[in-house]
Amino acid sequence: MTTISQSMAPGQLTAGRLPKVVVPALLVGAALLGVAVSLLVGGGNMALAAVLAYLTFLVAVEIAARIVEGARQAADRRATNLIVGAFVLALLPLGSVTWEAVSKGAARFDVTFFTYSMRNVVGAGGGAVHAIVGTLLVTGMATLISVPIGLLTAVYLSEYGAKNRLAKAITFFVDVMTGVPSIVAGLFAYALMTLIIGPNNGFGFAGSIALSVLMIPVVVRSSEELLRLVPNELREASYALGVPKWLTITRVVIPTAISGIVSGVILAVARVIGETAPLLVAAGFTASLNNNLFANPMMTLPVFVYDAYAHPGVDVQVYLDRAWAGALTLIAIVMLLNLIGRLVARRFAPKTGN
């Protein structure tokens, strides 16, 4: 706090402010300069223009703000510009990936794709029903396994094991678990199932086990942090009313953090739904529809996409088109889940004053 009181001149309540028009003007100027330089020197490279414009803008605002407003305001403007810059920067790959997926996936994003499997299909045509069903079943089962285990563990870590050794061990090893390579999770699930039921060629449930190994740490880590952030006053108020601890947790603590928990779960689902290597090992490979999680190989969308990309037949383009349509479907599924998750979270979240 000392910096603030020192830097304020005595008797002066407001420092000078840059007129509102200055910042946009600087932005336009910098953009023009960037384009001009890039046209003259860099052969019209737009990326170069953007970088130059951004750097010029940063420096210009810094100088203007320092002269008129002083060092503190300049720092504030610099932070604002950097943060907005970070956001715009992140939109670039997002836009690029989305555009690539949509433009290339649109070619086969048709009715056939959603009504046909690949059984007896060679070359053009065919669809991904078997893979879509497989992905929904395998990931759904993995979620059913991971969310209760992960959420309860998070509850234990934040509400029960304040300082004990078990909690410390769990926290540590959950972090370690985030580093299990996905293919190892698949091999582990396959080996476990071989141990239990003998040699097999993979089935849906084994894939769910593999995905759970990858999913649980993400669920634990994100929900634990959010449960910890629930203000203690809420818990104490509940205890003061004589509510038992478990009801306090399920009725007060979890609902308060539900929006974050749901986005954590969605993130975890998104993290595993696109996994290829473990599913190829554990869930197997088939061109036919299989609705049974517990017997015979089950196709999943990432495996479908990877296979179409990696092992195409003579007419490569039809395989690539199917691969991109599959990728687009996968993205659409996660978006839909995200939307549903947010609606559910909003429904269960406590009504707040603001």
């Binding site: 056939t112 959603f114 009504t115 046909y116 499997s117 059984r119 007896n120 299909v121 060679v122 070359g123 065919g126 669809g127 029903v129 078997h130 879509i132 069903v133 929904l136 071989t194 040699p199 097999n200 060629n201 993979g202 190829l280 090992v281 197997g284 490979f285 088939t286 061109a287 036919s288 529809l289 609705n291 015979n296 190989p297 296979d307 990309y309 990696a310 092992h311 195409p312 037949g313 003579v314 490569v316 839909l336 939307l339 549903i340 609606l343 909003r346 429904r347």
Partner: protein
């Protein structure tokens, strides 16, 4: 508003589940399942074979998982897969009665060649539409001894081409593969002085260069770059130039007839069971395209389960038949087995119990 959204979400989920139950192209329930696992090189051909076989036998589902040759052999040994697809036959020490969980205790395995495909040397070099290379030059490029496109060794073989003064980026497989094994074996057999490493699935660490994953990765890296060269299954070579290989003064293109001829010129590995057709490829023989990948189906002599045995017999019998080989040639660009070899494989398949 909120309730409407939730209803909408529920509707979407419900419709998702509704279409989940069935696929428009799938009829009644299949009762029998045959599982094969192995080489991804066979994938495109297997796709065609499976489709044709399932169409002819509507009660059967055949799953061929392109997990890789090693995974296929492991699964076959463990008894998980009824047959394996493998880019090499089982070695002598891997063979032996009683070693295979799916076969009876006194049964050995059989190695049957079912898929032959030429490996093309592919390149991307602006302004050069045709390129001839001999094995020593190819070996020189991939060992890193020849680094520029206008190297005298390349220029001598291509007097008409305008070769630029450009660095060569040689792309090899990052993953272990049968393609690498057959390619390095070719260089080792035909240019042993330049390529002094034995054939191996793994690219020799001594020869650096650009690495790319899988056939698609190599083709992608070669077609996406400039001044690049690589090797890949001939059927996958799209949007790239294909080099001719000059052996003993004759130029060969990676074409089916010249590729399939290699099996007729080579000998079966000695000391195997009567119907085992594991070949030691002789790439130096006259009139063959030397860089060829031969992929096998590995099956039991006698299966523990007679139902599996009859399924394997009819399926492998189909893929080795003239009809099956022709189907693979159109769908996957492979080289059909010669009629003579088809007969040998048929005799072997007939012996499966």
């Amino acid at each position: 508003m909120k309730i409407k959204l939730i209803t909408a979400a529920a509707l979407v989920t419900a419709s998702a589940l509704a279409f989940a139950g069935c696929a428009a192209n799938e009829g009644g329930a299949a009762t029998k399942t045959l599982t094969g696992k192995g080489a991804s090189s066979q994938k495109a051909a297997q796709e065609k074979w499976v489709a044709a076989f399932q169409t002819a036998n509507s009660g059967v589902t055949v799953n061929y998982a392109p997990d890789g040759s090693g995974a296929g052999r492991s699964a076959f040994i463990a008894g998980a897969a009824a047959f394996a697809g493998s880019d090499r036959p089982l070695k002598d020490e891997e063979m032996g009665a009683g070693k295979f969980a799916g076969c009876t205790a006194d049964s050995n395995a059989l190695n049957l060649p079912v898929y032959v495909s030429p490996i093309a040397v592919i390149y991307k070099l602006d302004g050069v539409d045709s390129l001839s290379l001999d094995p020593a030059t190819v070996a020189g490029i991939f060992t890193g001894k020849i680094t520029k496109w206008n190297d005298p060794a390349i220029a001598k073989l291509n007097p008409k081409a305008k070769l630029p003064d450009l660095a060569i980026t040689a792309v090899h497989r990052a993953d272990d593969s049968g393609t690498t094994n057959n390619f390095t074996d070719t260089l080792n057999q035909l240019a042993p002085t330049v390529w002094d490493q034995p054939a191996s699935d793994t690219w020799p660490a001594a020869f650096a260069g650009e690495a790319a994953n899988g056939t698609s990765g190599v083709v992608g890296a070669v077609s996406g770059g400039t001044g690049t060269i690589g090797y890949a299954d001939a059927s996958a070579a799209k949007n790239v130039g294909i080099a001719e290989l000059v052996v003993n003064g004759k130029a060969y293109k990676p074409e089916a007839a010249a590729a399939a001829a290699i099996l007729d010129a080579s000998k079966v590995i000695p000391g195997r069971a009567a119907n085992d057709l594991a070949y030691k490829l002789d790439r130096t023989s006259e009139g063959v395209y030397p860089a060829v990948l031969v992929s096998y189906a590995i099956v039991c002599q006698t299966y523990k389960d007679s139902a599996t045995a009859s399924l394997v017999k009819s399926y492998v019998g189909y893929i080795a038949s003239a009809e099956g080989q022709q189907a693979a040639a159109t769908a996957a660009g492979s080289a059909p087995l010669s009629a003579d070899l088809q007969a040998k494989v048929k005799a072997a398949v007939d012996s499966i119990k």
